[in-house]
């Protein structure tokens, strides 16, 4: 049976995808429809985190402002619906074009900086988005905006039932995982990864790394805005609170738990995060304490996140054999 995945990590991920694919039936069978909601939210965030991993993990661009693009995507649905435009293609076009424009503009400035300065400038730009939506009284300001109807895709598929919405999300997630995989192992992706390790060398090889990195930044932002568009549809509500810098911090956290610069790690990290959040908050109101300690411990002791841990299992196994 040599078609089976060989490493521990690959087996775990294959099993996970299988469970995700069957999840609506499993939850119906055990009669826990609430879990489907939880998982839908986790997978939506998963798309955002996978997109962040593209720039943060593979590209080494630590953005503390990625939640802004979730906001742009969600408000694209919210504001269009507010004016009675329910066409889903319009929502997608709006989310993609606005996020691309904003990412191109701010990325062009941000990518002139390095390290700490990049972290801070991306945070600053996302705060601008935050304050913009916070002050737009027409669209609810800090009370947020209720989205009464989901995006409509006439004659293709409806997003109305929670199962069909779930499969929409799942399909988009698979597409983004595949896309990131293909991108990273393409010539373009090699340049991005190469610039993370040694940018002067890439430049010496004749690559205009700035352009490559900017393109990558814009692609990642557009992917993230799709997650935002789904989130708006899923929660039926959007508020500036979803954009604040702490949200961006959580996204980074999810990438790191799972393992940065791996294809599946960030998705696992996101699911872990959302499930832990739910489980811990059910046990105690002080769950943030456990969460915080986990985060500190992760950085001090857990190199490489879950993916790193799974890979180490392999190496141990190999030593035994």
């Amino acid at each position: 049976m040599n078609w089976l995945p060989t490493t521990v990590a690959a087996r775990v991920y294959a099993l996970m995808l299988l469970i995700l694919a069957l999840a609506p039936f499993i939850f119906e069978w055990i009669d826990q429809p609430f879990y489907l909601d939880l998982l839908s939210r986790a997978l939506i965030l998963g798309i955002a985190v996978v997109s962040l991993n593209l720039i943060l993990g593979f590209g080494g661009m630590v953005s503390l402002g990625h939640a802004a693009y979730i906001g742009i995507g969600a408000y694209s649905v919210g504001i269009a619906s507010y004016y009675d435009f329910y066409n889903g293609w319009l929502h997608i076009a709006l989310a993609l074009s606005v996020s691309a424009g904003f990412a191109l503009l701010t990325g062009a400035i941000s990518l002139r900086t390095r390290g700490v300065y990049f972290i801070m400038i991306t945070m600053a730009f996302s705060q601008m988005v935050y304050f913009t939506f916070l002050s737009l009284e027409e669209y609810g300001a800090d009370d947020g905006l209720v989205i009464y109807a989901r995006s409509e895709f006439p004659e293709i598929i409806s997003m109305d039932s929670s199962t069909s919405l779930y499969y929409w999300i799942f399909a988009l997630l698979l597409a983004s995982l595949f896309f990131v995989y293909r991108l990273v192992y393409s010539r373009f992706g090699r340049v991005i990864v190469g610039s993370r390790f040694n940018e002067p060398r890439m430049q010496a090889l004749g690559f205009d790394t700035y352009r490559y990195r900017l393109t990558c930044y814009v692609i990642s932002a557009m992917m993230c805005s799709l997650a935002g568009m789904l989130l708006g549809n899923f929660t039926g509500f959007i508020s500036p609170d979803m954009i604040g810098w702490a949200r961006s911090g959580e996204l980074i956290f999810m990438v790191i738990i799972g393992g940065a610069a791996t294809i599946f790690g960030p998705l696992v990290g996101t699911i872990m995060f959302v499930v832990l959040e739910e489980a811990l908050s059910a046990i105690t109101v002080y769950w943030h304490l456990i969460f915080g300690m986990l985060l500190v411990a992760l950085v001090l002791f857990g190199k490489g996140g879950i993916h790193g841990w799974l890979s180490r299992l392999d190496r141990k196994g190999a030593e035994h054999e």
């Binding site: 630590v62 400038i121 705060q127 304050f131 790191i256």
Partner: protein, 307 residues
């Protein structure tokens, strides 16, 4: 023009600027000398307020609350340096962001456990609660005290940094850490002192503002971001830069909130101006930071010798 309003707004701006300076001076030193991004610096601000409030509640003395509170925050800062920050100075900036993000969660929850979810009001002694009347100007005594205290700390810090041996080491550390180490200075002790001192100053800022706003969970999480903006604009590692940038941002933020709609009203219809002004004034400092980062990434007043 309402001169009374202008003067009271100028005072508010000055007050905000000084509070920002208290936060940013520690932050910029920790950043500049240890190369450590401390997002949880705002937690010291919060802890300071709660320590002070608790001691005031027990002893009834505001002065005692401030002094003991300062000592308390100094110890907390030292503990954080000793057990966590110290291990990460050579690590990636991403690790700093994550760990200190975790610390924010931990401190916020600990305060929730110890003091409950609702805020804590800190009563002021009657002496400070009054007003000083100059002609037809009415100035609240306590706000004057904040400004006075802030300027005092700034002066002391200036003397400390520019006239003492410790200050010389701090300046040297900000410009060239390796050289200080090579000259046989106990760099670990220097780091501990700088970290704890920075924490204490952030705590002082929290104590000073709490009687006006009351102490609350997460009170430091918004202002710390502004303090980072101050650090970046002033130049990382530069106390002087932090002072000028804090004053500038304090005044810009306060004045734009009250006057920007009038200014915009000169160029566009009033109803648009009234919608755009609050958003623009909230964004102004971030726009300023983005501009500084884009055109002068080392900040407006970088420390001497730093490239």
């Amino acid at each position: 023009m309402d001169w009374n309003l202008l003067i009271s707004q100028l005072m508010n701006g000055l007050q905000l600027g000084l509070l920002l300076f208290l936060l940013a001076s520690g932050l910029t030193l920790i950043f500049g000398i240890m190369d450590f991004i401390n997002l949880s610096h705002g937690s010291f601000y919060m802890i300071g307020a709660y320590f002070c409030g608790t001691i005031v509640a027990y002893t009834g003395s505001f002065l005692l609350g401030v002094l003991l509170g300062l000592a308390g925050v100094f110890v907390v800062g030292a503990l954080v340096e000793w057990f966590i920050a110290r291990k990460l100075y050579r690590a990636d900036h991403l690790d700093h962001v994550l760990v200190t993000f975790g610390l924010i969660l931990i401190f916020d929850t600990l305060v929730h456990i110890l003091w409950g979810a609702s805020g804590m009001a800190i009563p002021l002694p009657d002496v400070l609660n009054g007003q000083i009347i100059l002609g037809n100007l009415v100035l609240p005594t306590y706000r004057l005290l904040i400004i006075f205290a802030g300027l005092m700390v700034a002066a002391i810090l200036y003397l400390l940094v520019s006239k003492t041996r410790l200050g010389m080491l701090i300046r040297a550390g900000a410009s060239n850490r390796t050289m200080v180490e090579a000259l046989g200075i106990n760099i670990n002790r220097l780091f501990l002192i700088v970290f704890a001192l920075g924490a204490a100053m952030a705590g002082l800022a929290g104590m000073l503002i709490a009687p006006i706003t009351e102490a609350s969970i997460g009170m430091g999480n918004d202002i710390i971001i502004v303090a980072f903006v101050v650090v970046i604009i002033g130049g990382i590692g530069s106390v002087k830069g932090a002072f000028y940038a804090a004053m500038m941002l304090g005044l810009i933020d306060t004045l734009s909130r009250s006057y920007l709609d009038v200014l915009l009203g000169l160029t566009m219809p009033v109803e648009y101006a009234e919608t755009a002004a609050p958003a623009l004034s909230a964004m102004l400092i971030y726009i300023l930071m983005a501009a500084v980062l884009a055109f002068r990434p080392q900040g407006l007043f970088p420390p001497a010798g730093m490239k």
